[in-house]
């Protein structure tokens, strides 16, 4: 294959990868603080995009996005308050099922509110046909926006968790919740914060990729599955791992299209995931010890 084509497939992979990476990161934030896998993460992405489109009818784009992120964060807090907060040491099974129920409910509420039609935000810069040529490779400016947003999110999270008091408290919570509580950390509020943060990130991602793909009431489920795949692949609990895994899966899928019928694209990444799980259950980048602790 010529270099140009390889690069083009790579760009395709990075485009998919951004979406997966951000959803995966969202999964990890909540997982780290609570040990819960939030299957409704995909719905946050959907809510962000849908709300932004509605708001955009009344306010300019940046305001619409900010508004959408805020609304989705509120939704995240609501979910946590009603379904998670007051459960006493729930089992993994129970939590998985509850979050699945939440995702179903959010999806149906979206259907009732917005109907089944698809919609999309306008491109941040340029439009559907604008394309930048970088060394023989064509890429839509929106893809660059997505990549930039992904980098921004990662940098923000890194800063937040390493250098802010709140972030450090959340890490303490993740390491050992009871010990953190003993130290006077308000673990319950941090759980809420983790949901709010995850929801906000998901919403932002939903807004930034909406022009590239489209937004509809039922895109959440597929995204959640992909995000879950990526989070596990990268090692549950590792945000950087999720980002890396997200891009890896994206690139893998893109190149698989060049080699075999595109119909099997989804199956490929899952098959790879299963292979890795069977050989290394803690994921590519996760630590075995952390994995064992978390799944006890």
């Amino acid at each position: 294959m010529q270099l140009e084509l390889v690069l083009q497939y790579l760009v395709a992979g990075l485009t998919y990868g951004t979406i997966y990476a951000v959803v995966g990161v969202g999964f990890n934030i909540i997982y780290n603080t609570t040990g819960i896998i939030n299957f409704a993460q995909g719905e946050f992405v959907m809510l962000g995009g849908m709300t932004a489109v509605t708001l955009h009818r009344f306010v300019p784009l940046p305001l619409a996005i900010a508004g959408a992120v805020a609304v989705t964060m509120a939704a995240g807090a609501l979910v946590e308050a009603t379904c998670i907060r007051w459960l006493e040491k729930p089992s993994v099974l129970r939590m998985i099922i509850i979050t699945i129920g939440v995702s179903i409910l959010i999806r149906e509420l979206a259907l009732v509110s917005w109907g089944e039609s698809v919609r999309a935000l306008p491109y941040f810069t340029g439009n559907e046909v604008s394309s930048l040529t970088l060394g023989g490779v064509h890429v839509s400016p929106q893809v660059l926006w997505s990549l930039a947003t992904c980098v921004l999110i990662v940098v923000f999270l890194w800063f937040f968790f390493q250098h802010t008091s709140l972030g450090r408290q959340m890490r303490a919570c993740a390491a050992n919740r009871d010990a953190a509580a003993l130290c006077g950390i308000a673990t319950k509020n941090l759980v809420t914060l983790s949901f709010v943060l995850s929801a906000g990130i998901g919403a932002l991602a939903g807004c930034v990729v909406s022009p590239i793909t489209y937004t509809a009431y039922n895109i959440g489920t597929g995204l959640a599955i992909k995000g879950f795949t990526v989070a596990i692949l990268g090692g549950l609990g590792s945000s950087m791992g999720a980002v890396g895994a997200g891009f890896l899966v994206g690139v893998l899928e893109a190149f698989s299209v060049s080699l075999m019928p595109a119909a099997y694209k989804d199956a490929i990444s899952v098959a790879v995931l299963l292979a890795i799980l069977f050989l290394r259950p803690s994921g590519l980048f996760g630590s075995g010890a952390a994995a064992r602790l978390k799944t006890a």
Partner: protein, 359 residues
Amino acid sequence: MLGSRYARVALFLAAVVAVQLLAHAAEKPFFLTQLTMAAYYTLVAAGLSLLMGYAGQISLGHAAFFAIGGYASGYLTTVDLTARREGPLVAVLARLHVLVPHADLYGGEALSFHPWAAFAVAVVLTLAVAWLIGVPVLKLKGHYLAMATLGFGTIVYSILLASESLGAADGLGSVPPFPLLPGISVGGGRAARVANYYVAWGLVALALLVLSSLVESRVGRALRAIHGAEDAAASMGVDVARYKLKTFVLSAVLAAVGGSFLTHFNAGIGPAEAGVMKSVRYVAIVAVGGMGSLWGTVATSAVLTFLSLRGYFGTLDDAVFGAVLIAVMLFSPDGVLRFDPRGALRTARDRLRGSGVAG
């Protein structure tokens, strides 16, 4: 103990008969069609209940087994082997009386497998796949196990959707009825409705008998020990891996039987039967019915699936499902049958009072 298990199944069968008579008396015999369909879906839920409730293993891909069974039966009974009539394999099969001529969609003649042979293949195939998948998958725990089963389901769905020979997105159609015994045929015709109803629920009764005897046996106690604490069970000499695998395979085979029979009843099957949403539905039903409760699961499955198949909730079908799921998981996590109103109220009160306070 022995008496009570048989007694419960007998009571169950009595209820099945009562429902049929009621439907007949109320002049709504067509309820039986949807009840029959619900029965086959219940087979999946029952097996899953054992897996999730007693062995504590979640499976987010169980619909895949249902689909494997259904597609195997559907494909083998509709594939036309006339072109390869002269070939060695087909000749052998013909000699074994495994093949049967029938009319195809356009009126011509086709040669396909006899439904009994197809069924046998479906069961064996599912057994093999479940075994192969089960060995590595069941070594995982918690979220990783959930992901692995989800992944398995996704792969099966992708393959079914992508395969031209399996009808791709349209699935399989014109699947002939399954002549179980002389005079009793599993198929959708109106005349055979009552017979089909009894076949379906008879199968469920049989499954209940097998599963409940398993639960009350040594194996069952081992499974409950595993669910309780795997490490402790292992230290007591329970071969954890083997029991988990056996439960997994059994539940898979039950699902496949359901799939196979339903495919004959509906005269077809589509790739949606292997989809994530179906798997989630089965898990939801088991959770609502009570993960450790076979009877709760059967009752829940029968009621919810029946109502869903009748379109009782209209366009809000999924919403109702989600709401019921959340409500039960929050207030009665051991299932609907074990709802403890005072306990739930107490919990809610405590939590509301305690929420917002540090720690």
